[in-house]
């Protein structure tokens, strides 16, 4: 065994450096598979958006930009706290690391809570695809006007031309994409819990912090997915 070895090097690795590099490469490759996984949904989104641009405009307008924007801020903040957690773990400040992990987890729950509020609103407004789906673009347009929003010529045409079935397609993709993202957030929260327990137990140190580091990569990735989802679903249709 090499001189670098310590108690945390698994039996099949030569040394801590090899173990750390393997863990990192493994997580990066996992993230590649995640990119391909979401990529399938992004492909479907892109194709349908180019086929039915009007429906995408209407779909976007029915989403709450305030809630979505708030959630984006929450996730960006959580990326910061996650980075702080990793940094603290690396510099042997395990107590601080545990606190940052708790904060990250809490921000994750805030995000999920807001998502629940959004989903509940969609259920109330019959915007969940399926037999109960109902949307009347003209009524929605009237609501926009009643709210004092300046409705341009282009927007009016979009609302007039949008097919409710295609708006349903938008919502199928909305739920599939944000739902998949939420599943990743829930898994992320689970990982935070596991990190917290181990950190409290004193498993990690400046000698061994691979799990905190690669979990951080995962958490940042999930944030980045949202950074793509938010403009694609909430913003592009509003231009």
């Amino acid at each position: 065994m090499s001189s670098h070895s310590n108690a945390h090097v698994a039996h099949h690795f030569e040394n801590a450096e090899q173990q750390r590099q393997s863990a990192q490469l493994g997580m990066w490759i996992f993230l590649v598979t995640e990119v391909m996984f979401f990529g399938g949904l992004f492909a479907a989104y892109t194709i349908y958006r180019s086929l039915y641009p009007e429906a995408w405009v209407v779909g976007s307008h029915l989403l709450s930009i305030k809630l979505g924007g708030f959630n984006t801020a929450v996730l960006l903040a959580s990326s910061l706290t996650m980075a702080m957690a990793v940094h603290a773990a690396q510099t042997d400040k395990q107590k601080a690391s545990a606190n940052w992990i708790i904060l990250t987890m809490l921000l994750g729950f805030v995000f999920l809570g807001v998502k629940v509020v959004e989903y509940a609103g969609k259920i109330d407004h019959h915007l969940v695809p399926g037999p109960h789906f109902f949307v009347d673009p003209m009524a929605e347009l009237a609501k926009l006007e009643a709210a004092g929003i300046q409705v341009g010529q282009h927007l009016r045409h979009a609302f007039e031309g949008a097919n409710p079935n295609h708006i349903q397609l938008f919502y199928s993709l909305y739920f599939a994409m944000t739902g998949m993202h939420a599943v990743h957030m829930i898994i992320g929260a689970g990982i935070m819990l596991w990190l917290l327990v181990n950190t409290r137990k004193g498993v990690y140190s400046s000698q061994y912090f691979n799990p905190v580091e690669v979990s951080g990569l995962y958490w940042h990735f999930v944030d980045i997915v949202w950074i793509f989802l938010f403009p694609m679903l909430y913003l592009i249709g509003r231009h």
Binding site: E54, H154, H157, A158, E160, G161, A162, N163, N165
Partner: protein, 317 residues
């Protein structure tokens, strides 16, 4: 009919010979390369078989010239194949303008066919030899595929859109028709025959067999009847309310839409405009037309489109 033991099946369309020529070329190169490989491995296997006490073979040199030469030859070969295949493919997917249009609706598990003169049939298609035929096809349920081996043609038939297939039969006879896209329990029963008749026989067949009462309306007439029954003419006829655009001369031409874009009024556009009238509003009109989705079925849609085409002197005679 050629027996199944002969290398090629019956050739009964204008493209069949062209496809078979490529096929024969491919068979020839396949046999050549298979025999070459078999010969080489056998000869090398015997000539260089292991012998007691022989010295260990030398390491091969790292030299890519053989790979490059082989790759070059193959590149030329596949480019020839690609070009030749693409040429015939283009020919076999571009229907001539004067093709006779037959409407096809696939459903689990039958083919419904309608001739321009109105005659309908199921699972058997009668066509005249020596005349290009274009099938305009759609499905009421799942994906099917229309396949006539003797003509070497095939095209998937999809729900919610139109696909086209064309061929020109060269000789009278009876040829098999298959569905080749798996479509459920009775998939293998979804087929029948294509009866190619001489043009004279075809004309006779159109009027006499099957009873005079059946072949009453042509698709265009049926479309015109539907056009009136559904009240389309109240808005779309010249001199009436002017609520909708006139349809004469629309088919195949560019239409300017309310949002400033332009589309070509083809089958898909007409289909969408009937089923979901709000999707693409013609410039200068209000979105007042009702939605006909669920009101007209696939057969009726094809007839309505045939009628609108006829207003432009379209391919439907």
């Amino acid at each position: 009919m050629n027996s199944v033991y002969s290398l090629l099946p019956e050739q009964a369309s204008t493209v069949a010979g062209q496809v078979d020529a490529i096929y024969l070329f491919l068979v020839a190169i396949s046999v050549f390369f298979t025999l070459l490989l078999a010969g080489l491995v056998l000869v090398f296997g015997i000539k260089y078989r292991r012998r007691e006490g022989a010295p260990a073979p030398e390491r091969p040199h790292e030299d890519s010239s053989l790979e490059l030469i082989g790759g070059g030859i193959l590149l030329v070969l596949v480019l020839v194949l690609f070009g030749w295949g693409a040429k015939v493919f283009f020919h076999s997917t571009r229907p001539p303008a004067d093709a006779m249009e037959i409407l096809v609706t696939g459903k689990q598990w039958m083919w419904k066919l309608q001739h321009p003169q109105g005659k309908r049939e199921i699972n058997t298609l009668h066509i005249p030899a020596g005349r290009p035929i274009q099938l305009t096809m759609t499905s009421e349920d799942v994906i099917h595929s229309f396949f006539i081996p003797a003509f070497r043609v095939k095209q998937d038939v999809l729900p919610g859109r139109y696909t086209r297939l064309w061929f020109e039969a060269t000789k009278p006879g009876k040829y098999r028709l298959f569905c080749t896209e798996y479509c459920g329990t009775e998939h293998s029963m979804m087929g029948g025959w294509v009866n190619v008749l001489t043009p004279a026989d075809y004309e006779r067949w159109l009027v006499d067999s099957g009873g005079a009462a059946v072949a009453s309306e042509t698709p265009v007439q049926a479309g015109e009847r539907l056009f009136t029954q559904l009240g389309c003419q109240t808005c779309h006829n010249p001199g009436s309310g002017q609520l909708g655009p006139h349809l004469a001369g629309v088919y195949g031409h560019t239409v300017k839409l309310a949002d400033g874009t332009e589309v070509v009024a083809d089958d898909e556009y007409l289909r969408e405009s009937i089923l979901n009238s709000q999707a693409k509003i013609v410039a200068g009109f209000q979105p007042v037309m009702p939605v006909f989705k669920g009101i007209v079925n696939e057969d009726q849609l094809l007839q309505l489109i045939a009628y609108i085409k006829s207003l432009s002197g379209g391919a439907s005679n």
